[in-house]
């Protein structure tokens, strides 16, 4: 497929990959910073472990190195779409809880939300370049989470941010894999790397 790719498309793909990698890197950095601010703001323990929650996509994956490029893009796109919804919900909850009292945290959440959206856009563009159809978003997104207590909301937020940070790392690796000239969306990468 790469051989059939036009030079402009290859350039475009390389540019998108490069930009996506940097975006994922910045997103990870911002999420890490946001995590610190969030833990402090919400009065949580940074070392507290959060169990897997429903609706939060997990970055960990088995046989990562065996995934094809398209598969990686699709999984990433699905994950970031989910994070976009989760972050938007967190932002809403944040505004409800704190109002304008902590605008900084809200702005940081909004910034991460934008980055997630931007990354999702990158993935969609890459998928278009792969001549793959872009899966439509499932209705209004995932089903609304069950009504949680305030503390549960905080813990879920912590879990979302932690998982997003993980996803950012994975996405960097996925895009680097995709950006290699020898890589092909439909072929599995080598076994050398793992997330």
């Amino acid at each position: 497929m790469a051989a059939a790719e036009s030079p402009s498309a290859a350039l475009r793909r390389r540019d998108l990959c490069s930009r996506g990698i940097r975006l994922a890197g910045k997103m990870r950095a911002d999420v890490v910073d946001l995590l610190d601010a969030y833990v402090e703001q919400q009065g949580l323990d940074a070392s507290a472990s959060v169990a897997a929650m429903e609706g939060v996509p997990l970055a960990a994956v088995e046989r990562w190195d065996e995934q094809t490029g398209t598969q990686r893009l699709l999984e990433n796109l699905a994950a970031y779409r989910a994070f976009r919804t989760l972050l938007a919900q967190m932002l809403e909850e944040q505004r409800e809880q704190l109002g304008e009292a902590d605008a900084g945290l809200g702005r940081a959440l909004a910034a991460v939300l934008l980055q997630v959206s931007a990354f999702a856009y990158h993935l969609e563009e890459l998928l278009r370049l792969e001549s793959r159809g872009i899966p439509g978003e499932e209705g209004d997104g995932p089903p609304p989470p069950p009504r949680l207590s305030l503390f549960e909301q905080k813990l879920r937020g912590l879990g979302v941010l932690r998982e997003l940070a993980q996803w950012a790392v994975r996405s960097v690796r996925d895009l680097r894999q995709l950006g290699k000239p020898s890589s092909a969306a439909g072929t599995a990468p080598g076994l050398a790397e793992s997330p």
Binding site: R19, G20, R22, L23, A29, A111, A118, H122, E124
Partner: protein, 919 residues
């Protein structure tokens, strides 16, 4: 209805219209019409048509129609050519160019063509549609670690005259972000929610009532237009080496956002020029850097900036400066050293002032703790080497005249400098530099020279500020042997500097060459004060003092003397600057002159105070040349006058004090027939024994005052005395004067006038001398008395008897008879003298005669002996010259009587006392 009542009808119509105008719709009063469009916004330059539509009700009630409509812009009537009556209720007006429009545009009606009433008015707004914004550019400014804002600017285009809204818009392909609406400005806006790594489309929309325009979109990833914050918390720390410093800082932008590259600049504190670390050494993200190649013990200031590693974007501002100091190192070179030798006390013993300059910081490489001075006597190598540790930069030594080698080392805490060596030779006998010259260069004075032929190690340039009030304080610097010119710093303008250059050789020193120079010249600060040293009739010697060097402000090229009279033209004289005196010549005498003096440098002149002087009326020696000759002439005249008067004293006396004969003193009075004549001949008896003169009567006229006679005056008298003594016969006496009148003519033919004059004036007695020389006929010398005194009776008688030649002959004969005995002895001299007197100098003779008669002053001048001689001579003359005269026998008989006998016989005592004899 209105047409039915002509006057009241119009009034009612007007009232109706007013009510209609004042009444809004639905109000009490309705408007009679309106304009379409209502308050339009028009494009400038476009055409525009407005319609005025009358209400039907007004047509019926007011009887007004569209034909009566007039249009106005403000209060200016629109030409009717622009009107058009569409129907009876609608009138239109058309403007081809809206630029002629103004607000308000009103529709009015002329009721019956006279009363103008306003129907409706609209506000017209004219403007332009917005132009397409151009030159859109954006910069993402980092405001904090996580905060970025994007500021975009654009060119809004022409002024639209309308309210135009600009909005900055940006979007992702699938997401449009909120617009950024500028506040208070129309050409920039700042977007706060910037997300990197996504191409963002940015554009500007401009909108107003006439339209909308969009700029070309700018598609950019905001990360590519970031201007990051400069590195923060810069710190500088010294390293192990004295030439390095380590910088550390914090980047405010995370590596996840962008990788950075850096610029590091540094400078020595106090200097202005920055140096930069090569950019390739700082082209990657880092938070520290070691700057190398620095000077030891030097304080540096550092500043850092950064930008995206790939160079896309903008450089951050320079960070705040941070300073750091390198550690010490040993001095890199020895201090420059020089000496001043004072031989004023004794040429054989020098006072050597060693001077050296403190090392520059980059040479000292630390704090110089002390200097070590070593003196080695090259004249006597066996003498010990002297060492001195000095903390100042000079040292004074007392040395014998000779050749010395001085070594100087500077020490700091790390080590010693290389030694500086100065050779002090016994004499500066080497070749000097040539062609020493100076040239001002801005604030520096360049000193150049031509190197001697020999190899020169280095040159020492001495200079000092020349001052009239203080000593020349020497400054100096050393130049390497290869250079032939240096710039002297710290030179003040308008000051005179004496610059001396010494070449230093490996084996000696050349003599110094000096030159005076100014960095910048000005005109003198004052002019010379001139005054006169000497003023003459046509010249004046001016003197002045040289200006002090502080007053000169430059090289005095010349002095200019300007002088003039009060009403005359000014004369200018240029004088050599070395002079202090000048002589003005060709001046007008006795004239007031004003003189002033100007000193000139290359940059101007200054004139001193005026000085006035007046030339003298007379030149030197003129007065003396006039006065002395006048005095001399006066003295000469006086002297000549005195001499003349002296010579002519008798004549003068005769005129002034005529002699009045005193009869009582007259010898005649004493010479009475009864009494023998007075004889006062002391030697008479010896010369002429009484027996031989018994027949001769002698008349002696005594002078009371002979003091006025000089010897010269007496000369003729002496001559005559001789003549008398040698003449054979003379006659004397009053009687002779009259009887000898005829012989007188034969005697002095040549001086007849004089004789006549004398005869007629003052000669009171006459003497007749008849000389004969041997066998020659004696010449008769005749002198006539001009006395006005009456002659005595005896004289009268004698005169009567001696009237003709016969009587003369008789007298001669008679004289021979009585005196023939000694005739041969006395005849010759008497003849010669008489002849001489007669022909050569009758005046003398006259004087003699006068002397004989009135010589009252001869006695004081003559000595006693002379008096006696004179008297004897007179006696002789009288005796000898009476020969041939008519002499009464009685006289001859009485002749032997002595002088002592005279008063006894005749003269009363009163005569001797000056009284007058009764006549």
């Amino acid at each position: 209805m209105c047409s039915m009542f002509s006057r009241w009808n119009w009034v009612a119509c007007g009232f109706y219209l007013v009510l209609n105008i004042c009444s809004p719709d639905g109000g009490l009063v309705q408007s009679c019409g309106h304009i379409i469009p209502e308050s339009p916004v028009l494009a400038l330059g476009s055409n525009f048509t407005a319609l005025c539509i009358l209400n039907e009700s007004c047509l019926d009630f007011g009887n007004i129609y569209a034909s009566q409509i007039i249009w106005k812009i403000k209060n200016k009537l629109v030409p009717k050519e622009q009107y058009r009556e569409i129907n009876r209720t609608v009138s239109s007006v058309t403007f081809n160019d809206t630029s002629s429009l103004a607000t308000p545009l009103t529709c009015n009606i002329l009721a019956d063509g006279q009363i103008e009433q306003n129907i409706y008015g609209i506000t017209v707004t004219v403007g332009l549609a917005p132009e397409k914004p151009k030159n859109l550019s954006c910069i993402v400014h980092q405001e904090s670690v996580l905060t970025y804002v994007m500021n975009c600017t654009w060119n809004p285009g022409r002024h639209t005259f309308l309210d135009t809204q600009f909005r900055l818009r940006h979007s992702w392909p699938e997401e449009i972000f909120p617009d950024c609406i500028p506040k208070d400005v129309n050409n920039s806006c700042t977007i706060t929610d910037i997300q990197f790594f996504v191409n963002t489309e940015i554009w500007v929309e401009a909108t107003n009532a006439l339209g909308k325009a969009e700029s070309d979109p700018l598609v950019v990833d905001p990360i590519d237009i970031v201007k990051p914050l400069s590195p923060q918390n810069v710190s500088v720390s010294s390293g192990v080496l004295p030439t390095v410093l380590q910088l550390c800082w914090v980047n405010w932008i995370s590596d996840a956002v962008m990788m950075l590259k850096f610029n590091i600049r540094y400078r020595i504190v106090g200097e202005t020029n920055w140096m930069e670390v090569p950019s390739e050494d700082t082209a990657s993200t880092r938070t520290s850097f070691i700057v190398q190649g620095l000077r030891p013990y030097t304080e540096y200031a550092f500043s850092i900036r950064c930008m995206k590693e790939d160079g896309v974007g903008y450089w951050s501002d320079w960070s705040e400066e941070k300073t750091g100091m390198t550690t010490e190192a040993q001095p890199s070179k020895g201090p420059p050293i020089w000496r001043i030798i004072d031989t004023s006390h004794s040429p054989a013993f020098w006072t050597v002032h060693l001077l050296w300059k403190a090392l520059k910081p980059f040479e000292a490489n630390g704090v110089i703790l002390q200097y070590e001075v070593t003196i080695r006597d090259k004249s006597s190598p066996s003498s010990p080497v002297k060492k001195y540790n000095v903390t100042s930069t000079n040292h004074t030594l007392q040395l014998r005249e000779g050749t010395y080698e001085v070594t100087l080392v500077a020490r700091n805490s790390v080590g010693s400098s290389p030694p500086s060596v100065l050779l002090i030779p016994a004499s500066n006998s080497k070749a000097p530099v040539k062609n020493l010259r100076t040239l001002p260069k801005h604030d520096k004075l360049w000193v150049g020279w031509t190197a001697p032929n020999s190899y020169v190690l280095k040159y020492v340039i001495e200079w000092c500020l020349v001052s009239s009030s203080s000593d020349c304080i020497i400054e100096w610097q050393i130049a390497l042997g290869g250079v032939q010119g240096v710039d002297l710093k710290g030179i003040k303008p308008f000051k005179c500097y004496l610059i001396t250059v010494y070449p230093l050789y490996a084996d000696g020193q050349g003599s110094g060459q000096s030159v005076k120079a100014y960095l910048k010249q000005d005109r003198p600060s004052k002019g010379p004060t001139v005054q006169t040293k000497k003023v003459g009739k046509a010249e004046a010697v001016l003197t002045w003092n040289h200006l002090t060097v502080e007053e000169q402000n430059g090289f005095i090229r010349n002095y200019t003397i300007l002088y003039k009279t009060i009403d005359g033209n000014e004369t200018v004289v240029t004088v050599d600057p070395s002079k202090t005196e000048y002589t003005l010549s060709s001046l007008t005498s006795d004239t007031l002159y004003t003189v002033r003096m100007m000193a000139s440098t290359d940059n101007g002149s200054r004139t001193g105070p005026d000085f006035t002087f007046t030339t003298q009326k007379f030149g030197k020696g003129e007065i003396e040349a006039i006065v002395v000759p006048v005095c001399l002439a006066f003295l000469l005249i006086v002297l000549l006058g005195v001499l003349f008067c002296f010579n002519k004293r008798d004549l003068i006396k005769k005129h002034i004090w005529p002699i009045v004969p005193d009869p009582s003193k007259s010898n005649i009075a004493q010479w009475s027939p009864q009494v023998p004549a007075k004889h006062n001949f002391s030697s008479k008896d010896q010369t002429y024994p009484e027996g031989s003169f018994t027949d001769v009567s002698v008349v002696e006229i005594e002078a009371d005052d002979k003091k006025s006679f000089s010897e010269q005056d007496l000369k003729p008298f002496d001559l005559l005395k001789k003549e008398k003594s040698t003449s054979e016969g003379h006659s004397s006496g009053i009687g002779g004067s009259s009887c000898m009148s005829s012989p007188r003519q034969s005697v002095s033919d040549s001086d007849e006038g004089d004789t006549t004059q004398n005869t007629s004036s003052t000669v009171q007695y006459s003497t007749v001398v008849l000389n004969g020389y041997r066998d020659q006929t004696p010449v008769q010398v005749f002198s006539r008395s001009e006395s006005t005194q009456p002659l005595l009776d005896s004289e009268e008688r004698s005169e009567d008897h001696a009237g003709g030649a016969d009587s003369t002959a008789q007298r001669q004969q008679y004289f021979r008879q009585n005196g023939g005995q000694d005739e041969t002895n006395t005849d010759r001299p008497c003849f010669e003298r008489t002849k001489q007197i007669t022909h050569a100098n009758e005046g003398d003779l006259v004087g003699f005669v006068q002397l004989q008669i009135s010589g009252q002053s001869s006695q004081p001048l003559g000595l006693g002996m002379e008096k006696n001689t004179q008297e004897a001579a007179v006696s002789n003359v009288l005796q000898t010259c009476t020969e041939g005269q008519t002499v009464r026998p009685e006289t001859v008989e009485e002749n032997p009587l002595s002088v002592d006998e005279m008063p006894k016989s005749y003269l009363p005592q009163t005569v001797r006392q000056g009284g007058y004899m009764p006549q």
